[in-house]
Symmetry: C2
Subunit: 900 residues, 2 copies
């Protein structure tokens, strides 16, 4: 069949998660392995996609479902909707990527008063039968008819009270029947229609409700956080019901084949007698440890252990299993590769290698860079057992301690005075930026992972806890409350942006031992080294051995270069020389701009050259033997000068006071006005400055060449590369490159030395990307500047985007994530790919790299590997992440990941 | 042969101008037609390209040249370098596109004292023989050895004086020999080497000199002005010499087959007895009218007339012919399709049609939009016979009259006071912008067509005359001189940016009759209508009948829409609604931004809606029956607010004075700071504003829909289209489009009416271009915004580019032209092409247009036709140009242009 819409479990397997969702694919796999899975079938994700487009189920589909039900009836020997021999089914969502609890489930579909009566007769368990009845009505009402929970609670209350109970579980069979009947009234009153006791109509409405729940608000939020595409849709699994709530010989549980928290080997889980799955998830009653099953039903426990071993062996990974025991018999309802903490991920991966279950290549695919990042943040000292006040959304990772401030301007003032502060707001807006920059961390009562506060905090690398619904912020009176606790301005608090925890008082922060390891401070081979460090070391070492891309760092100072080298950087991919003209040296640029005679110019350039020479000497020495890419001056000159508005105010005020304005200030004002640009990002910068002010750039090249010769004479091995920013056309590249070559040749000739210094171009304008094959004639290497390329491709100014429309765009799911955090592969990535393909056509050997911040982003690194870049360059701290991800990308083509 | 380097005239034809240059291809064509052309051969442009890359002539080439010389010797029966039977040759440049006088020529190659003596013997004309000798030495010295003219003039002077003459032409044979010998000393002294009398060595050095001259400064300037690619290179024509300077039966001349100035039929030209071609070009002696040849040599004259008729018939166009009569015999040295004035171009084209020589399709290819533009500018009234003071470079077309001002700030002040001024500067720089904007026109003493003044003036549409070398500007004392004339500040002058003429006093300006015709004021069918108007009318009417693309106009007011309609616009391609919020209405936007309550918001939006409603009513009425594309608000809101710096100064000064600052001003200051963006071009504008401030855009759509219904009720046929600016992704387009559709539907429902209003997207971000196929799902049409697309593709901010680096880039030939004037086809055009191709793949019927200013640029229009756009939209004044060019583009695929 061209477009099969319904797959019985026997027709699928675990590779089909695109079509059947993760749950459906794994149910099919287990059925094939002979594991006791209640029979059923899966409706594909493609049906969901179509449903969401058209809003209806097609006749074709209904026909296929009917056929599948008839097949199921034959296998089970029961009949759907037959009051005498009833088949009941569950209807569950199951997307490609697990979204636990985010979508809807309807159990006991096929129920009616007659069916419940038959169940009572068959099982002899009146409470079970009518509880199933009551549960179905309630679930159908909430999920399909979208009736609020309270409506049901309200009508149940008098019944419970009359029975002298506290919860609905205290009712007996007749009580539960009465509750179910009362719930039917609620539904009928709400919908204005009779309750549908026709089994097939229940089924189709339940299926529609599951599809519908793909776009529920919480599902959308979850997807955005997990960067799951909104287009995928969910599959629906229809499965014969088994009951964990028939008498004392029944029960339900969840187990893991290893500890998902610590990674310790051995089964781990919970068992709840006389219960259905939803009771476990809801945590209504306290569960027993898994071993309890061994006590009450040794056969089922042995069978479960056998299945756990079988599944772990089959999936070659730690599995998460849901099971039910129905009147003594074990049924497996679901399995998947289990979620785990970052620490467990590394430890389990190497355990499995040691057990001969997977290869090191596979181990590499079991961990990721984000997990490594999590382990590298400083953490609160757990040994100090801090008292957690509350918990919000972990919005921007890291630990921060400071005294509470409510007003952003106060935060800025206090920070300036050297005080560590935590900015606490109901929510933030662009006006709060000044305080957010100044604070150690940010705590808000409202807003999720994509709120303004969260986006900005992540952009700045500030820890943040957002959406802490349990706190009430009173800005005017400068305190916030959390339950009975009142926290005043000036009180110390600690926030953990990695977990979302908020603590009262100062919690001690300990540096991460993982960071100490990647910096070379902790020796992974030492006897005292932890299992975690040994695991990480083995996996990163393996990543280094398999990756094709090399990893460089962006570093502007000798100190950063040294850190990068310790972190494993194989060179510098970007040295921003403009950073060398900030601070005290700003005045040099000002002097250059204001120079009116050749002598003044020559003098200030000579002074600059002296400083640049020593900058370059330091960096080249630190990176001896490794390539160092020096980017020539990039930003517009006015960035080094005083701000236009403040200068205008200053001069106007001085004049108003009748005082004389300093001549230099007037000259500066003229220069600032002359150099002012409406859109400096697209203005006189990069290679254009080089064309207009060639002596400034000759100075840089001269300083670099001299520094390289100097360092070589000291016995080092300098490998400088010159990089030209903002190139847009072949002609300007050729022209400017020639002028640089002339300067390099002149220095070498004067020194009587030989040295090869390659000259390459950045690709950061869309024009450079689409004409890269032409630029290749005059470039020794290319480095993609994906920050600027993203700005220009989208027309997003990075300086403005976080304070203007990006948060709103993320909220509305108009963007799946910030294109400055992770590469927009469909747009910007397409330009990168076009450029790579074109360049490789004319010069297969051209060295290609990336030096935008995407060079340190896991999914971007994978993309860069696959378009064929030779290296990525990122901030020093991200180097270990990039090494790991480059290794993962390299094995992703051929390794069997073993996960479903 | 794979790569033939040398083509004898017999081997080429006129279609080979890429390879042989225009001159070489036409010489070959004439040879084939049996026209008496001195024999010779052509070295290809490809050889030149290689020479310019490598700097040398290859052995292969030298061998081919040798073979060609031997063939030539055989045909002519003379021998190159043989003193007894000498063959002399000319060596001339000849590029694909004519560059008259821009490159080098060396005549009489093969000359030596012995050869000259033989010539004397053969012709019996001693003066001729030694004049040829002297000319060769001088020409070789100047051209090949790069010796300044003065060096030769200096040694000739005493000889001329001794002979009692005034010019070198006054010398007799022996005197000319002495001059030649003295010139040899000059060359040998300058080069330090003996003068090369070896014929082959003279030839190769002359060839190299011609190649070299491709990159002379004047050639580069010319190419830039004419937009000729620097990569083409020139061919070299080596041709047997014929002499117009042997006795009285010889002479030389230039003729046209029709008058190139007025277009009048009948031959037109000059004849100069006893002279060589260079004498005609140099204008050293006064020439006779062509008919003089008929008097002195009726046979040659008849032959020339026969050949003129033959060539015009063959080329089916007016030809420009250079000829020489050698001892009574006529030789044709060169022909090409003749250059002509705009007026002549139109008139000749229709004459040729009437004569049955060409079709109307071909006539269309003989004129172009730039010529039409020239004819449309207001002109100075020639009838008033103004006295021309001097002439500079025609840098920006149009006529301007005003009083002279030297200081840009004075210019601004006087213009503000209602005075018309001409800004006169030595040269301009970005600081002068304020005065340039205020002036009627600009006159500078320095700088060419790509100088700052010229580029900026063209950008603003201000007439400008630049590089007027004959004037001296004294800014401090506020006057300029031109020879003896002194012009003071306040004196009236008139400048003609179309011709470069500068007049003293006020010259009357008359509107162009062509403009009156295209505006429908002059009836082309009237008996009084001029031949020019009749020609233009026939050609434009034909263009309308053949073009595939329709032509729309960009118009923001009912008045502009009416003008556009009269000019032939077939709809409005762009109505910029932001222009409707300037002037008095600016305060509405301010009020909206400052609104703090829903009531305030609703109130100001209601007021805006009232105004927008009447804006739209006017435009839709004016364009009844034609499509009107309304672009929703595009610019960032802060563009409507007070400037940040001036507001800051204002508030600071008020506070300094101890006065209270107005509350609204403070609120405005906060808003301005909040809305301030580093790069507004890439900021919160277009569709992003629509997402963040939906009610503002709903208001626009509501006003438009209501206006359309209102106008329809009045009996008009409104065809509104809504266009969404700055779209970058499918999701935002879908989201925003839905909100607009909802609003349209609501208005229609309330009115109980039906109307189709299509909704389309601009393509102006690179991302929209490369993902256009995805946007096509939710767009009814696309319009390329090539202004913004150019900004983003190049990272050129249009607001800044003319005041910063563009003039310098043009000077250095790093850009062939401003990409904002004419579409950058290799970069921005490639994105347009990618988008068109992708969109046509998914939807062949999608309507595609362009509304950037390139929509009115001739070569861009040709490009848009060829990528398959359905329409171009341009300013109303450009509509006739676009109609003409769209017609030319349509016939360019199949018409035989008949030109070489």
């Amino acid at each position: 069949m061209m477009d099969q819409k319904v797959y019985p479990f026997s027709a699928g397997n675990r590779t089909m998660s695109d079509l059947l969702g993760g749950k459906g694919a794994n149910l099919a796999e287990m059925a094939t392995l002979g594991i006791p899975v209640p029979d059923g079938f899966t409706i594909t994700t493609r049906v969901c996609q179509e449903y969401l487009r058209t809003g209806g189920l097609t006749d074709d589909l209904l026909e296929e479902i009917d056929k599948a039900i008839i097949d199921l009836e034959k296998k089970i020997g029961k009949s759907f909707g037959d009051p005498n021999n009833p088949l009941l089914v569950s209807v569950r969502s199951g997307a490609k990527f697990s979204m636990p609890g985010m979508m809807e489930t309807v159990l006991n579909v096929g129920m009616s008063p007659e069916v419940a009566a038959t169940l009572e007769k068959i099982t002899g368990d009146s409470r079970f039968a009518w509880d199933s009845y009551r549960r179905f009505i309630e679930m159908f009402g909430k999920t399909v008819c979208e009736i609020p929970s309270e409506s049901f609670a309200k009508v149940a209350e008098p019944l419970i009270k009359a029975a002298g109970g506290k919860t609905i579980a205290d009712l007996d069979g007749p009580g539960l029947k009465a509750a179910g009947d009362a719930f039917i009234q609620v539904v009928e009153k709400h919908t204005g229609l009779p309750f549908p006791f026709d089994a097939r109509s229940q089924l189709t409405r339940a299926i529609e409700a599951v599809f519908h729940s793909w776009n529920s608000e919480r599902a959308q939020l979850y997807r955005r956080r997990e960067r799951i595409s909104a287009d995928l849709g969910t599959a629906v699994n229809v499965q014969a019901m088994v009951f964990g709530n028939i008498g004392e010989t029944s029960g339900t549980g969840v187990c893991f084949t290893r500890d998902p928290g610590s990674g310790a080997p051995g089964a781990y889980g919970d068992y709840l007698p006389r219960a259905q799955g939803e009771d476990v998830v809801a945590g209504i009653r306290n569960a027993f440890p898994l071993t309890h099953l061994g006590v009450v039903n040794p056969e089922a426990f042995a069978e479960l252990n056998r299945i756990m071993a079988l599944l772990e062996d089959h999936y070659r990974d730690m599995c998460d299993i849901e099971f039910t025991v129905e009147q003594g018999k074990l049924w497996i309802l679901q399995t998947r590769v289990g979620k785990r903490t970052a620490e467990a991920a590394f430890k389990i991966a190497t355990q499995l290698v040691d057990e001969g279950s997977i290869t090191m290549d596979q181990a590499l695919t079991r961990v990721n860079g984000e997990q490594l990042v999590q382990l590298m943040f400083p953490q609160f000292d757990k040994a100090s057992a801090p008292k957690e006040l509350t918990r919000g959304i972990a919005a921007s990772p890291g630990a921060a301690v400071g005294s509470v401030v409510f007003d952003p301007r106060d935060a800025a003032d206090q920070a300036l005075a050297g005080k560590k502060v935590i900015l606490v707001r109901r929510e933030t807006n662009p006006d709060d930026l000044v305080g957010m920059v100044a604070a150690q961390g940010i705590l808000t009562a409202r807003g999720g992972k994509t709120s303004h506060a969260a986006v900005v905090a992540r952009g700045m690398g500030r820890p943040a806890v957002c959406g802490t619904e349990s706190i009430e912020v009173n800005v005017d009176e400068k305190f916030f409350t959390c339950g009975d606790v009142r926290v005043h301005e000036g009180d110390l608090i600690s926030i953990d942006g990695t977990t979302g925890a908020v603590f009262l008082g100062e919690v001690a922060v300990v540096p991460s031992v993982v960071t100490e390891y990647v910096q070379g401070i902790v020796d992974p081979g030492a006897a005292t080294s932890t299992a975690l460090i040994k695991s990480i070391h083995r996996i990163i070492t393996h990543a280094d051995s398999v990756r094709r891309m090399s990893v460089r760092a962006n570093a502007d100072t000798p100190e950063d270069a040294e850190i990068a080298r310790r972190m494993g950087a194989q060179g510098i991919g970007l040295t921003r020389t403009e950073h060398m003209f900030l601070g005290d040296r700003r005045v040099l640029v000002e002097t250059l701009v204001l120079a009116t005679t050749d002598e003044e110019r020559t003098e200030v350039l000579a002074e600059m050259e002296k400083l640049q020479f020593s900058d370059f000497v330091g960096i080249l020495r630190a990176m001896t033997g490794l390539p160092v890419t020096i980017r020539l001056l990039d930003p517009p000159l006015h960035e080094f000068l005083t701000d236009q508005a403040s200068l205008a105010v200053d001069i106007a005020l001085t004049q108003e006071r009748g005082e004389a304005v300093d001549e230099r200030k007037l000259a500066l004002n003229r220069a600032v006005n002359r150099l002012h640009e409406s859109n400096p990002m697209m203005g006189l910068r990069g290679v254009r400055l080089g064309v207009l002010i060639p002596d400034l750039f000759s100075m840089q090249v001269r300083a670099l060449t001299r520094a390289a010769l100097h360092v070589r004479a000291q016995g080092y091995d300098p490998q400088p590369e010159i990089m030209i920013p903002l190139v847009a056309s072949q002609r300007e590249l050729l022209y400017f490159r020639s002028s640089l070559e002339t300067e390099v040749a002149r220095v070498l000739e004067n020194a009587g030395e030989q040295m090869h210094i390659s000259i390459g171009s950045m690709i950061e304008t869309p024009r450079a990307a689409i004409t890269a094959a032409k630029l290749a004639d005059y470039s020794d290497f290319f480095s993609f500047g994906t920050n600027d390329l993203t700005q220009l491709t989208w027309a997003f100014s990075r300086d403005d985007v976080e304070s203007s429309f990006l948060p709103r765009y993320l909220d509305l799911e108009l963007l799946p994530f910030s294109p400055f955090e992770s590469l927009d592969q469909d747009g910007v990535g397409l330009l990168v790919k076009i450029a790579c393909d074109e360049v490789r056509t004319v010069n297969p050997e051209m060295k290609l790299g990336v030096c935008g911040e995407h060079g340190g982003d896991p999914r971007s690194i994978d993309f860069f590997h696959h378009v064929g870049l030779d290296y990525v360059s990122c901030s020093p701290f991200r180097v270990p992440v990039a090494r790991l991800e480059a290794g993962r990308a390299a094995v992703s083509d051929h390794a069997t990941t073993g996960s479903a």
